[in-house]
């Protein structure tokens, strides 16, 4: 008898709560654009933050509200951008994917060390406490803060003490760019493949003392560039990618071998894995 009353009262309570919840969900329903859910489905869901928003759902909301472009996800590249464009009903200009390029070749063999660093194995920690152990104040410290920051496992520390980017895994999210205390990593598209792999603004003799593959600011590349795409800025060659035709003349002329075609060069470049098709 007592079990029956318990069953009845529990059943009645369940019925009342169920009905009121059902009514409330109808009455208090929030209209959410169905496209947000649809975009969420096609986004990678890694919540890497590479887009600049707090995760994939925030980006989806921003795309629908018009605060972000359909190409907002740097990880998904053009394939996802196209799907999002279809959901949003807009045209999507095929954006060329970007990859992280490490613009320093100062490996252990090439770049001199100033002292024996024994502290925390992290580039920024080394930079702020001792200025970095390399003689070159611009070059890679080789402690792998970029590798640790990569959410996609696309970076690894090579035997020479320089980070290696695996283009097959690199999504161009830019986490490594932010992690590098010396701003040595830049995002470039596959076609922007000719790069000066040195960031030293030091004068030639100082560069020679610090590193055997650093830009000495001689200007040979700028003089020889048929497209006038190279400018010498503060002892460093800077390539205007919009003018570069990838003829390769600068690479040939550079006495320090610090200009590289990331798409063509194999062993010399600090890049491994599959090369992007260009």
């Amino acid at each position: 008898m007592s079990s029956l009353s318990a069953l009845l009262s529990m059943g009645a309570m369940g019925l009342i709560f169920g009905l009121s919840l059902g009514a409330a969900s109808k009455k208090l329903a929030v209209d959410q654009d169905p496209r947000i859910d649809q975009i969420m489905e096609v986004l990678p869901g890694a919540n890497c933050g590479g887009c600049g928003f707090a995760g994939c759902s925030a980006l989806a909301g921003a795309i629908v509200s018009g605060d972000a472009p359909v190409t907002g996800c740097p990880v998904g590249k053009s394939a996802i951008a196209e799907k999002i464009a279809k959901i949003m009903g807009v045209e999507c200009a095929a954006a060329e994917p970007k990859y992280a390029r490490v613009l320093c070749r100062g490996s252990r063999e090439h770049a001199a060390e100033l002292y024996d660093y024994r502290g925390i194995q992290d580039c920024r920690s080394a930079q702020i406490t001792g200025g970095g152990a390399k003689v070159c104040t611009y070059g890679c410290l080789g402690l792998g803060s970029c590798v640790a920051a990569c959410p996609f496992g696309a970076m690894s520390m090579g035997d020479e003490g320089l980070p290696i980017v695996d283009e097959a895994l690199c999504t161009g999210c830019g986490k490594c760019v932010a992690a590098c205390p010396r701003q040595l990593i830049e995002l470039r598209t596959a076609s922007e493949s000719v790069n000066v792999v040195c960031k030293s603004h030091a004068r030639g003799p100082e560069v020679r003392k610090a590193c055997s593959v650093g830009c000495i600011g001689c200007g040979m590349c700028a003089k020889n560039c048929p497209e006038k795409a190279i400018e010498m800025i503060d002892n460093l060659a800077v390539i205007d990618q919009s003018k570069c035709t990838r003829c390769g003349l600068c690479i040939e002329k550079c006495p320090q071998k610090c200009i590289l075609d990331f798409a063509a060069s194999g062993e010399a470049a600090p890049i491994s894995g599959k090369k992007a098709a260009v």
Partner: protein, 446 residues
């Protein structure tokens, strides 16, 4: 807790006996002086001389418009050889003026003593101190004129002179107190006038009885000045801890000593002030303790600011064996420098050369949660947790655990049985938190 002490801290081997009883010696004239253009504060200075110019000793050679900056003066008379980059004690490269001494040491005509010091208004005294390029000489190189320019509505009643010199090995302040106590008291009187207080306390660790006696003999002549011996315990020379030990007042987190009515100044700074007013000399030389097991004959040297460390070490008979590490400052808070060519600065109180056997590298082991760092931390922080937050990049948590109150004294790293790089991790956290605060201020300012 005994009087004259504070919670936490350590008492490492003092190692002061090799230089504590040695009279300071004037170092021979350096073959080159390198005056950094980043001295004293973070404001970069602009050179007021050019390459090839002849400069006289004490002549102003660099200055800045910035409020926080202090000028630099030529420590010698000679020719400006060049203005270029030099490797500093912090490992980075910085602009500096290179001067070749001509051996004459002709004093600049601007270097004249100040008459009627005590009839000058305080603002005038502070201005003279700034113009003399005087910064805190205990090591932090905090500009003295900023310290003395108190914000309005701040009530200060005591000047506290810091003669603790708690860092092992260093005896520069010790010797200064033994040899020039009257100049220190004179400097204190000028500083008292500058901040309008009637009371000075001089805190000295009780392992320096000769300095305490010398300062007591000198103090008799001055009203309101009193020597207070404090317990020998590191970091007694941290200003917040010295205030606690001498005056029993506690500086709240994130606040400065003037919030408890105190201005703290190093005894070396007081001597530099008296040099300016009584001898006309701006800050161009200081006492540097050159010591360590890899130095042949350790000495206390009066060295021109900007002398390369190698020349001072040579004056002390050079290295014994292969040096393992050269440290600017003491072993607890000093910076290991990348080479012996690094020039000394206004805050370089010591050059410590350790042998290779002494400068062993320890492997960082996992934290065993023993809590020794927490017990030892004189700021009552939890270094083990701060290291964790810092390692994981959790700057908000590090800030909530008061990372910004860390004085970087190194006690936690000293006691850690797992040899963890606690101070470095906290320094990193402080750097990131400061950067974020700066960014927030800039966003707010727009």
């Amino acid at each position: 807790m005994p009087k004259g002490s504070f919670r936490g801290g350590v008492h490492p081997p003092e190692n002061k006996e090799r230089t504590a009883a040695l009279r300071t010696v004037v170092a021979r004239r350096p073959s080159q002086v390198v005056v950094l253009l980043h001295q004293g504060s973070n404001c970069p200075l602009t050179p007021t001389v050019a390459r090839g110019d002849h400069v006289r000793m004490g002549q102003k050679i660099a200055d800045t418009e910035a409020k926080w900056g202090v000028p630099s003066h030529s420590p010698v008379s000679g020719k400006v050889a060049s203005i270029g980059l030099v490797r500093t004690a912090f490992g980075a490269q910085d602009q500096a003026i290179f001067i070749e001494p001509d051996g004459e040491d002709v004093l600049d005509e601007s270097c004249v003593p100040v008459d009627n010091v005590f009839s000058q208004p305080p603002e005038k005294l502070i201005e003279i101190i700034r113009e003399a390029g005087i910064v805190g000489m205990g090591g932090a190189e905090f500009p003295t004129h900023i310290k003395l320019s108190l914000p309005p509505k701040v009530e200060v009643d005591t000047l506290l002179l810091n003669g603790a010199e708690c860092e092992p090995y260093l005896t520069a302040d010790h010797r200064l107190m033994v040899e020039r106590p009257r100049d220190i008291v004179r400097g204190a009187q000028i500083l008292m006038r500058a901040i309008s207080v009637m009371r000075t306390r001089i805190g000295i660790e009780d392992n320096k009885p000769d300095a305490i006696n010398a300062m007591r003999d000198a103090e008799v002549s001055a009203a309101g000045v009193e020597v207070v011996p404090v317990k020998t315990r590191y970091p007694q020379g941290s200003e917040k801890h010295l205030i606690k030990s001498v005056l029993g007042r506690e500086v709240p987190p994130g606040r400065l000593p003037f919030s408890v009515g105190v201005v703290v100044s190093n005894v070396g700074t007081a001597a530099a002030v008296s040099d300016r007013f009584d001898r006309g000399l701006p800050l161009i030389e200081r006492v540097v303790t050159v010591t360590g097991s890899a130095v042949a004959t350790p000495m206390n040297l009066i060295a021109k600011i900007g002398t390369p460390a190698s020349e001072l070490i040579e004056a002390c008979g050079g290295f014994v064996g292969e040096p393992g590490k050269i440290i600017f400052g003491g072993p607890m808070m000093g910076m290991a420098v990348p080479s012996a060519d690094v020039p000394t600065g206004k805050g370089t109180s010591g050059i410590l050369v350790m042998s290779q056997e002494e400068s062993v590298a320890f492997k960082e082991m996992p934290c065993i949660k023993c809590g020794q760092c927490v017990d030892a931390c004189p700021m009552r922080l939890e270094p083990a947790f701060l290291h964790q937050w810092s390692g994981a990049g959790l700057w908000d948590e590090a800030e909530a655990y008061h990372a910004m109150d860390c004085i970087e004294c190194g006690v936690c790293t000293y006691v850690c049985p797992s040899r963890r790089n606690l101070v470095q991790a906290i320094k990193r956290a402080k750097f990131e938190i400061s950067a974020r605060r700066r960014a927030a201020r800039e966003r707010g300012g727009k």
